[in-house]
C-alpha cells in the first residue's frame, strides 16, 4: 500500500522516463559496439555472453550506477523539498520504513533497466553469435548474469539512499555519489578486496568469473547490504534523538 504512495510521489519527477531512457541508452552500447566491431568479436572463441559482458559491461555498469545515484537523490529530495519529510514524520509511519519502501521502489526501477539491457544482450547474442547457442540456454545465461549484477547493485543503491537521506539538498548526495563512482572506476576489477567498495561492486560480472569469487562477492554484497541498513537505522535513531 505504502509502496503505491511512493510510486505516486515520483509520478511527476520524471524518474520513470529517466530510467526508461537510461535503460535504452545502456542497451544501445552493446548494439552499436557489435554493429561496428562485430568482426573483431567473432574471432573470439569465448561464449557469446562473456564476449558481450567483457566488451561493454564497464560502460553500462557506469551508466547504471549513475542512474541509481540520481534516483536516490531525487527520491529523498522529493521529501526534503518543502519540508514534506516533517509531515511524513508526523504520520504514524516509521522513517526506517520510508527508507525501505524507497529502496524497494528503486530496486524495481533498477530491475526495469536490467530487463531492457538483458533484452539487448539476448538480441546481440542471437543476431551476431546465433549459431553458437540455443535460445533457452542463452536466456537462462543472460538471466543468471543479470541477476548477479542486480544483486551486486543493491549495496550501491542502499549507500546512495543513505547519503541522500542524510543530506537535505540535492547536490551534496549527488556530489558524494559522483566522487565515489569516480573512485570506483579507478579500482581494478580483478582486485577482490578493493572491489568490495559498494560502488565498485556493480562493475563485477558473472561470465568468466570463478565460482569461489562469485560466492565471495555474493556474501560480501549481502553483508554490505545488512551493514548499510543497520547504519541507516542507527543514523535515523541518532538524528531523531538530537533533532
Amino acid at each position: 500500500m505504502n509502496l503505491l504512495i511512493e510510486c505516486k510521489k515520483i509520478k511527476r519527477t520524471g524518474l520513470f522516463p529517466t530510467f526508461f531512457i537510461g535503460g535504452i541508452l545502456a542497451g544501445l552500447f552493446p548494439l552499436l559496439d557489435m554493429t561496428f566491431r562485430a568482426e573483431r568479436y567473432r574471432k573470439s572463441s569465448q561464449p557469446p555472453i562473456e564476449i558481450l559482458f567483457s566488451a561493454d559491461w564497464q560502460m553500462m555498469a557506469m551508466l547504471n550506477t549513475l542512474l541509481i545515484i540520481i534516483c536516490a537523490c531525487f527520491l529523498y529530495y522529493g521529501e526534503y523539498a518543502d519540508h514534506a519529510i516533517q509531515k511524513m514524520c508526523s504520520l504514524p509511519i516509521r522513517e526506517s520504513r520510508l527508507f525501505l519502501e524507497k529502496f524497494m521502489l528503486m530496486s524495481f526501477l533498477c530491475l526495469f533497466v536490467f530487463v531492457i539491457e538483458g533484452a539487448a544482450f539476448t538480441y546481440c547474442a542471437l543476431r551476431w553469435f546465433g549459431g553458437r547457442m540455443d535460445f533457452f540456454p542463452l536466456l537462462t545465461g543472460v538471466f543468471k548474469n543479470f541477476g548477479y549484477c542486480f544483486f551486486l547493485m543493491l549495496p550501491a543503491g542502499l549507500l546512495s539512499l543513505l547519503t541522500a537521506s542524510a543530506c537535505g539538498n540535492l547536490w551534496t548526495p549527488l556530489g558524494i555519489g559522483v566522487i565515489c563512482l569516480c573512485l570506483a572506476t579507478m579500482i581494478p576489477v580483478n582486485n577482490p578486496w578493493l572491489s568490495l567498495f559498494p560502488y565498485a561492486l556493480p562493475f563485477q560480472m558473472l561470465a568468466g568469473t570463478r565460482a569461489e569469487t562469485v560466492i565471495f562477492f555474493v556474501t560480501a554484497g549481502a553483508v554490505e547490504c545488512v551493514v548499510i541498513l543497520l547504519a541507516e537505522l542507527l543514523f535515523l535513531r541518532v538524528r531523531r534523538a538530537f533533532a
Binding site: 529517466t18 549513475l66 542512474l67 540520481i70 540535492l170 547536490w171 556530489g175 566522487i179 573512485l183
Partner: protein, 256 residues
C-alpha cells in the same frame, strides 16, 4: 545592476553550500589511487613516456574524462537549486535585473568554480608528486609552467562543454532530465574520442585535448590530430550559440 556586482551576489548565494568542500574532496580522493599505484609509472617503456610525465598526464586524463565534467554538473545543480528553493527565481525576476545578464553571471560563476577546481587539482598534484618522490626515491615534480599549461588547456577546451551543460540545465526545467542528460553524456566521451567526428561532441573536447597531450609526451604513441581545421570554429560556435540560447531561455519556465 552592474555585471560585476551581479557576479559578487552569485558568489554570495553559494557561500554556505559547501560546494568547495565537494570540489576539494573530489580532487583529493581522486589522487589517492595514483599515489598508491605510483610504482606502475615505471612500467611505461612501451609507450616511451618518462615516469614523472606519466604520473602527471594520467592524473589529468582521469580528471578530464569523468570527475571534472561530473563535478561541474554538480555545481550547476547547486546553482539552479539555490535559485529554485523558496522561489528565489521569482524574487530575482521581480527585481530590476536583466535576466540575460543574470544568466551570464551564473555562467561566469560556473567558470570560476571550474578554475578553482583546476587550481585545487594543480595543488593536489604537487602534494601527491612530493609524496611519491619520497616513497619512490625518484623526482616526480615537474616544472609549474607545464602543469599550468595542461590545466589551462583543460579549462579552455572545457568551456564549450560547460556551455552545453548550462544550456541543458536552463532549457530542461525538470531537474532530473537535465542532470541525467548531463551526466550520461559524459560517459560515452571515451567512445567519442576514438571516432573520426569527435569534434561534433563537445563533451569529449577536454578528454581529447589531454589525450593529444599524452600522445605528445609519449614517444611511441601516435598523436591524435588536433589540427582539424574546423574544430576551433565549431567549438567557439557551440559555446556562443549555447550561451545565447540559454540567455534567451533563462527564467522562461518561471515566467509561464
Amino acid at each position: 545592476m552592474n555585471f560585476l556586482s551581479l557576479i559578487g551576489i552569485e558568489c554570495r548565494k553559494i557561500r554556505r553550500s559547501k560546494i568547495l568542500l565537494l570540489l576539494a574532496a573530489a580532487v583529493i580522493i581522486y589522487w589517492i589511487p595514483s599515489i598508491l599505484n605510483a610504482r606502475l609509472n615505471f612500467t611505461m617503456q612501451a609507450e616511451g613516456i618518462s615516469p614523472e610525465h606519466n604520473f602527471m598526464i594520467q592524473g589529468f586524463l582521469g580528471m578530464s574524462w569523468f570527475i571534472f565534467p561530473a563535478s561541474m554538473m554538480v555545481s550547476i545543480v547547486l546553482m539552479h537549486q539555490t535559485e529554485r528553493a523558496e522561489r528565489g527565481m521569482l524574487k530575482m525576476m521581480a527585481l530590476p535585473v536583466n535576466m540575460a545578464k543574470l544568466c551570464l553571471a551564473k555562467f561566469i560563476l560556473l567558470l570560476m568554480l571550474a578554475v578553482l577546481q583546476l587550481l585545487l587539482m594543480v595543488g593536489m598534484y604537487y602534494v601527491s608528486a612530493a609524496i611519491v618522490t619520497r616513497t619512490q626515491n625518484y623526482a616526480f615534480c615537474l616544472p609549474a609552467g607545464l602543469i599550468f599549461r595542461e590545466a589551462g588547456l583543460l579549462f579552455v577546451s572545457s568551456v564549450p562543454m560547460l556551455a552545453v551543460f548550462w544550456l541543458l540545465s536552463v532549457c530542461i526545467s525538470t531537474p532530473i532530465f537535465s542532470i541525467g542528460a548531463g551526466l550520461a553524456s559524459v560517459v560515452p566521451s571515451v567512445i567519442a574520442i576514438n571516432t573520426k567526428i569527435w569534434y561534433v561532441y563537445p563533451m569529449c573536447y577536454p578528454f581529447y585535448v589531454i589525450t593529444a597531450e599524452y600522445g605528445k609526451l609519449a614517444e611511441n604513441l601516435s598523436e591524435p590530430d588536433l589540427r582539424y581545421p574546423l574544430w576551433i570554429p565549431i567549438a567557439i560556435g557551440v559555446a556562443v550559440v549555447s550561451l545565447l540560447i540559454s540567455c534567451l531561455m533563462f527564467g522562461q519556465a518561471e515566467r509561464r
